[in-house]
């Protein structure tokens, strides 16, 4: 009998602690600069804020240590850094608005939402022990998502803001259920796809050389997706439609590996975009103000004012920015929400902008890495969905601000002012932490693809061949599921 020595795997909690330290430094440093430049100096208010930030960081880190000890060490600190930076920026923008005579207090509200978001994330990590539990609620999630999307359309509950009907008011506060619906839809798509991907991919007729799925397989999926799109179009929330479309195509591709469908999807999207531009006047004007933003006629009509001012702001930031407190972000409408990235570009420069983009890229990359590392298809799809949706959302927002694509109404995760967005994104991070915990923990165990692992104790006599076969680790679980070798993970859901 061979002796198995424990190989300790670096699970990363210490790295996470160090990174959290950096994240707090970024968040507090930025806030200190803003306070210093505000003229009031760094006072008691900053002290309380610093204490709160550090306490939250410690609390979140403790929850992760206790409940998800093998989780990816980068996710929590990155989200923390982005939220903290966003809070400091929003406080700066409050001050910029005040200079121009407009009293706002977005910072306090956002601080509250960040607190709720982080606490919510801690709850998700603590209460949801295994992401595979969510698979039972696949259809529920789908329904909830649709309901959430449609709520703003209900008269009396919903409110129209700036031409888009995506808000509801709850206890006096505005909420964007669409943000939460996005997570619900990711769960729904993941659950449905992992169950039906084989039938979707293989069981349909071949038309024009492309294998199409059977209607009964694609049906529910298509209905939910089409409904979501229609609702969003009715709400004039074009950014969300783009996001959902992209999300769906990506998850479908990952699940079925059919590149041809991606191409069909892209073609459909192109058709849809052109059609929307032709049929809907408000879409057409979006295209117009995108293509001819700097034209005097377009600018003077007001339709490209926000975009052009955002461009001016970023340009004046140059490479190193004007410095926190020295720019004029207040000149850009909605500098605290839609155009928070422009404010960031103005005050922190191209270097700051790229640094933040890199931070987002790191988060997305860790999510995709988690997707690759986790063993079950459901977890993979959720991780891909959450990660890709963040990447696509960022592309749509920043692309709009830098004129790669027309402007939409999407928010920048963690940075932009908006409670629903902040909470929903923190919940997404929590789910990713949960999934990554499983992914990285099972990396220390032999999986179905891995061969048997032998650890040899050099002090013992060399065993003979018969002994060696007994101690092969069993890796016989079916494709897509984690092995049931650990007591804490006794269910192997299928």
């Amino acid at each position: 009998m061979a002796t198995v020595l424990e190989v300790s795997v670096r699970v990363g909690r210490r790295s996470e602690a160090v990174l959290l330290l950096f994240a707090c430094a970024i968040a507090l440093g930025a806030r200190a600069f803003v306070d210093a430049n505000a003229g009031g100096g760094i006072g008691a208010q900053f002290g309380m804020y610093a204490a709160a930030v550090v306490a939250l960081a410690i609390a979140a880190h403790t929850v992760v240590r206790l409940r998800a000890p093998a989780a990816d060490p980068v996710l929590l600190p990155a989200a923390f850094a982005l939220s903290g930076l966003g809070l400091a920026l929003i406080r700066r923008i409050d001050l910029a608005y005040a200079e121009r005579g407009r009293e706002t207090d977005f910072a306090t509200a956002q601080e509250l939402w960040a607190l709720v978001g982080i606490v919510g994330a801690m709850l998700v990590i603590a209460l949801i022990r295994d992401h595979r539990l969510l698979r039972r609620y696949t259809y529920t999630a789908g329904v909830l998502g649709l309901v959430g999307l449609m709520l703003p359309l209900v008269p009396g509950v919903g409110r129209e803001v700036n031409g888009a009907r995506i808000w509801i008011s709850l206890f006096g506060r505005s909420l964007q259920p669409g943000e939460f619906a996005k997570i619900a839809f990711v769960v729904f798509f993941a659950g449905y796809l992992v169950t039906n991907r084989d039938t979707l991919a293989l069981a349909g007729p071949k038309v024009l050389g492309i294998r199409l799925p059977r209607p009964r397989d694609l049906g529910p999926l298509l209905i939910v997706w089409a409904a979501a799109l229609l609702v969003q179009v009715a709400q004039r929330d074009l950014g969300a439609s783009l996001l959902f479309f992209g999300l769906f195509v990506a998850m479908l591709y990952v699940a079925t590996q059919r590149l041809s469908w991606v191409l069909v999807g892209l073609a459909l999207f192109a058709v849809g975009a052109v059609a929307a531009g032709t049929l809907f006047s408000h879409v057409a004007s979006r295209y117009e103000s995108w293509l001819h933003a700097l034209d005097f006629s377009v600018y003077n009509s007001g339709s490209s004012y926000q975009l052009v001012q955002g461009l001016f702001g970023m340009a004046s930031g140059g490479l190193f920015g004007t410095g926190l407190g020295s720019g004029s972000p207040g000149l850009v409408p909605y500098a605290e929400s839609d155009f928070i990235m422009a404010s960031l570009g103005e005050e922190l420069g191209l270097t700051g902008f790229m640094a933040v983009l890199a931070l987002y890229l790191v988060v997305v990359q860790r999510a995709l890495r988690t997707a690759i590392g986790v063993r079950d298809g459901f977890g993979k799809l959720i991780a891909v969905g959450l990660g890709f949706s963040m990447a696509l959302q960022l592309f749509v927002v920043v692309g709009g601000v830098t004129r790669v694509i027309p402007l939409t109404g999407l928010t920048t995760p963690f940075l932009a002012y908006g409670g629903s967005s902040m909470i929903a994104n923190w919940i997404a991070i929590a789910l990713l932490i949960r999934i990554s915990d499983l992914a990285r923990a099972s990396a220390t165990e032999p999986g179905p693809g891995d061969g048997p692992r032998l650890v040899i104790d050099p002090t013992l006599p060399v065993p003979d061949a018969a002994d060696a076969t007994d101690s092969e680790a069993d890796g016989d679980a079916a494709d897509g599921d984690a092995p049931a070798s650990d007591q804490a993970r006794s269910e192997a859901a299928r």
Partner: protein, 488 residues
């Protein structure tokens, strides 16, 4: 599923690369172009939002940046705006900058190389960028005297210290108020600027150093006389002074003022010719000397050269290759001869300074925000257009002009004034420009003054240099001498 996830990550990378490219495009490649877009107020806020250094005259601040409560943070204010308007220039959102606000801009806004160490200190201290303060050579008493004496008439006055080249006064009328143009609204400032541009009296032009320039008239005879003296003539040399001078190649003639003769005979001394400002004598003298001699004498005084004081001075003009009759007319400061008042003041200064022309300058000292001197202009010789003997002879001749000649209204009790009048014809329908070019005290002058009054001032066709311009010069000289005596 790992393979498609890996491919998806490539797509994600491509998306982010696109974003990095687009942000680089906006913040780096197109940054300057976007910054110069007229709709971009940020560059204005950056330019206009910092503390700009003051401009100081004799210890008094005449231009300052006063803190205000608007996005621009500071309001540029001009004490006694119109008096110094053409020196300070304006600093305006719409029309931009002019005058010293433009030429000294780098010092005033703190971005000049000379202020590098100051900026470094500000970077570490975390304070905002401040500009340096610019102190001028102007003497406020002399400036005010020139302003008051010119009154409602259009023209210019320039006063220089012949020993150093310091510009003691520079007045141009009509003037404008730069404070009005410093309003914090681009549309308003553009509107005001436009109305100033459209004003027929051209208030924006600094007539002392620019604009259309004026024919110097008889004051140009100083150049011809100097050329003659350098060529060997003396103040006692007899020269032809007919009643009427026939111009060769033409049927035109040159006559003297009022059609009178310069002396009882057809010949007078050089001194006499200058004293009464004899046209026929100097026209003939010019032809006798030859244009090259006159041209080179004028060039010795900087005529036709570019000059910055640091304001840019329009070069005075001479005709190129004039024929005989044109030389004759040029000799009396008509035809295509054009001068700025500053140029004429420089001539007077050089004559008074023993033939040595000092470089005129406006900026005396520049101090950094901590009041440490970072630049001080030291007087520089510009050229030596004539020998000291010629200068002495000319001085005697110019004293005669004031003592008993055409410039008696410039006499001052107890002070010996040397001067030359000028009445420049401007055409059949308009009154002449009147000039007076002078320095005092004649032996060791502390000031050289050039005055020009446009189109007769309020004397119409009766205007002469002696009648209109000389009294103005007198007032300026009195102020300068009083100032200099008082230790100013």
């Amino acid at each position: 599923m790992n393979e498609p996830i890996r491919r998806l990550s490539v797509v994600v990378l491509a998306l982010f690369l696109a974003l990095m490219a687009s942000s680089s495009w906006v913040q780096f490649v197109k940054a300057d172009e976007l910054g110069e877009d007229p709709r971009n107020v940020r560059t204005l806020y950056q330019q206009f939002g910092s503390f700009r250094g003051p401009i100081i005259v004799d210890g008094q601040v005449i231009v300052s940046s006063v803190p205000v409560d608007d996005p621009f943070n500071y309001q540029r204010t001009y004490a006694n705006g119109p008096l110094y308007a053409h020196l300070t220039g304006y600093y305006s959102i719409g029309p931009g900058r002019s005058g010293l606000e433009a030429t000294e801009n780098a010092l005033l806004d703190g971005s000049a190389d000379a202020l590098f160490w100051t900026r470094l200190g500000e970077l570490f201290a975390g304070t905002e960028q401040q500009g340096a303060s610019v102190e001028l050579t102007i003497d406020p008493a002399v400036q005010q005297a020139a302003w008051d004496a010119l009154g409602d008439r259009r023209g210019a006055v320039v006063a220089i210290d012949p020993r150093t080249g310091e510009i003691l006064a520079m007045v141009s009328k009509p003037s404008f108020d730069p404070t009005v143009l410093a309003v914090h609204s681009s549309s308003e400032s553009n509107r005001l600027y436009q109305s100033l541009l459209e004003d027929q009296t051209d208030p924006l032009i600094n007539r002392a150093i620019g604009g259309d320039t004026y024919p110097p008239g008889s004051t140009f005879k100083l150049i011809v006389a100097a050329a003659a003296l350098e060529a060997g003539y003396s103040p006692d040399t007899l020269i032809d002074a007919p009643l009427e001078l026939d111009l060769p190649l033409t049927t035109a003639t040159i006559t003297n003022y009022g059609g009178t003769r310069c002396g009882p005979e057809d010949q007078v001394t050089l001194l006499e010719a200058l004293r009464v400002s004899c046209n026929t004598a100097f026209a003939k003298l010019a032809m006798d000397l030859g244009w090259p001699a006159i041209e080179s004498m004028a060039a010795g005084f900087g005529w036709g050269s570019e000059l910055s004081v640091p304001l840019k001075v329009t070069p005075s003009r001479l005709p190129s290759n004039p024929n005989e009759p044109q030389v004759a007319q040029s000799g009396i400061g008509q035809f295509d001869v054009r001068a700025t008042p500053l140029q004429m003041a420089m001539i007077a200064a050089a004559i008074g300074n023993g033939g040595v022309l000092m470089q005129p300058y406006l900026v005396d000292t520049v101090r950094d925000p901590d009041l440490r001197e970072i630049e001080k202009t030291s007087p520089q010789k510009l050229s030596t257009p004539m020998s000291s003997e010629t200068a002495a002879a000319l001085t005697v001749m110019m004293q005669a002009v004031v003592n008993s000649g055409s410039g008696t209204s410039a006499q001052i009790d107890g002070v010996s004034v040397a001067g030359k009048t000028g009445t420049a014809e401007t055409g059949l329908d308009t009154s002449p420009h009147t000039w007076f070019v002078s320095f005092a005290p004649a032996a060791n002058p502390v000031v050289a003054v050039a005055v020009v009054v446009e189109n007769g001032g309020d004397s119409g066709n009766e205007a002469t240099g002696g009648k209109v311009a000389a009294p103005i010069a007198k007032a300026v000289i009195e102020a300068a001498i009083a100032s200099s005596a008082g230790g100013g």
